[in-house]
Amino acid sequence: MNMNATLIGQLIAFTVFVLFCMKYVWPPLMAAIEERQKTIADGLEASKRGEKDLELAQAKATEQLREAKAQAAEIIEQAKRRATQLVDQETQRGNEEREKIISQGYAEIEAERNRVKEDLRKQVAVLAVTGASRILEREIDAQAQNDIVEKLVAEL
């Protein structure tokens, strides 16, 4: 092969290219690449953090839901108990009321009966006296015969 001045020309070209590349090509490209790598790394880390946060939030939400459910169950239970209690109370009160009303009725009836008895007794006394006088066809001295009538009435 014939070596000649091309060698020198190429050596100069090579040097110039390498220096140009070193000064104007490599730094901006490398800077861009490294910047993006950093951005991506940050993004990945942020997403990982976000995932963890989400997990925590979910766990918290589940916990709260469970608590709420338990509370709700307790409240329902309480309400049921209260309802049963109220029904019992009201039933008892009703019964008492009924007893009272019934006994009152009885008392009233009794009083009425006594009154009617008394009335009857008086009328029977009058009737008896009237009857007796008719039988005797004479005026009986009411005062004198009163003791007999009284006895009769008491026997009724």
Partner: protein, 277 residues
């Protein structure tokens, strides 16, 4: 193919560089330069290599200037893949801190790759175009217009690259170990005894000198041979089509490999030069 010329002439024609030299009667070209000796320039090698080098730098520079740190465009993605590939290679081999080695490796890789890929341009295309231009624009005999479009098939270019790397190797060795360290490395290894200094010196010098030689000759030899075979295939008539295809596909592997090897060996040599034993 030049039909009135023999196959040997055809091959010879394709393997001759376009030359330019300064003779007594002014600037002369090609055959007139046969006796010009060292002070001849291969204008095709120079033009193609510098053109491709500028193409490489222009593309990478424009991408670098517009580089976004957000979502990159397709060209930027490609450039970044190449840069990152080179950077990974440099970082895995060269452990020191140097702002020169990575850009050097990038320049070597992409530039050599581009020059190698000129090998895939069909062998007759550029010489024909050059011949037409030479005939009609300059009134030359078309057979006297030479063009060898693959710069890496010119030993001058590969040797220039290797010499550049060699100078850097020496420079790094002296910078990292000092003159005494470098001298010691050449004389006190592998046998650490004063009596062995001459033997050591011969061994180590051969080792050192062999590196740029292997760099230059490996690239030149591979590319020259492959170009020669492309030209040979071009002489076999219609069968050249499948043969060209097969050979070109094979070179999709060989051409990047040679560029990669040149880059990797450069990094390795510089790494060895700057390491203390």
């Amino acid at each position: 193919m030049a039909s009135e010329y023999s196959t040997a002439d055809y091959i010879q024609h394709h393997l001759t560089n376009a030359k330019m030299c300064n003779t007594e009667s002014g600037i002369a070209f090609n055959k007139a330069c046969a006796d010009a000796g060292f002070w001849t320039i291969h204008i095709d090698t120079m033009a193609w290599s510098i053109g491709l080098g500028i193409l490489f730098l222009a593309i990478f520079r424009s991408v670098g200037k517009k580089a976004t740190t957000g979502v990159p465009g397709k060209l930027q993605a490609l450039v970044e893949i190449v840069v990152d590939f080179v950077d990974t290679n440099v970082k895995s081999t060269y452990h020191g801190k140097s702002s020169l080695i990575a850009p050097l490796a990038l320049t070597i890789f992409v530039w050599v790759l581009l020059m190698n890929f000129m090998d895939l341009v069909p062998v007759d295309v550029l010489p024909r175009i050059a011949a037409l231009i030479g005939e009609h624009a300059f009134g030359m005999d078309p057979h006297d217009v030479y063009i060898k479009s693959v710069p890496t098939t010119d030993l001058n270019l590969t040797a220039a690259l290797a010499i550049g790397v060699f100078i850097l190797m020496i420079g790094y060795a002296i910078k990292m170990k000092g003159i005494t360290g470098f001298t010691k490395e050449l004389t006190m290894q592998p046998f650490n005894h004063p009596a062995f200094i001459p033997a050591n010196f011969i061994l180590e010098t051969v080792t050192l000198i062999a590196r740029p030689f292997s760099l230059a000759l490996r690239l030149f030899g591979n590319l020259y041979a492959s170009e020669l075979i492309f030209i040979l295939i071009a002489t076999v008539g219609l069968f050249q089509l499948p043969l060209h295809f097969a050979w070109a596909v094979f070179h999709l592997l060989v051409l990047p490999l040679q560029a990669f090897l040149f880059m990797t060996l450069t990094i390795v040599y510089l790494s060895l030069a700057s390491q203390d034993h």
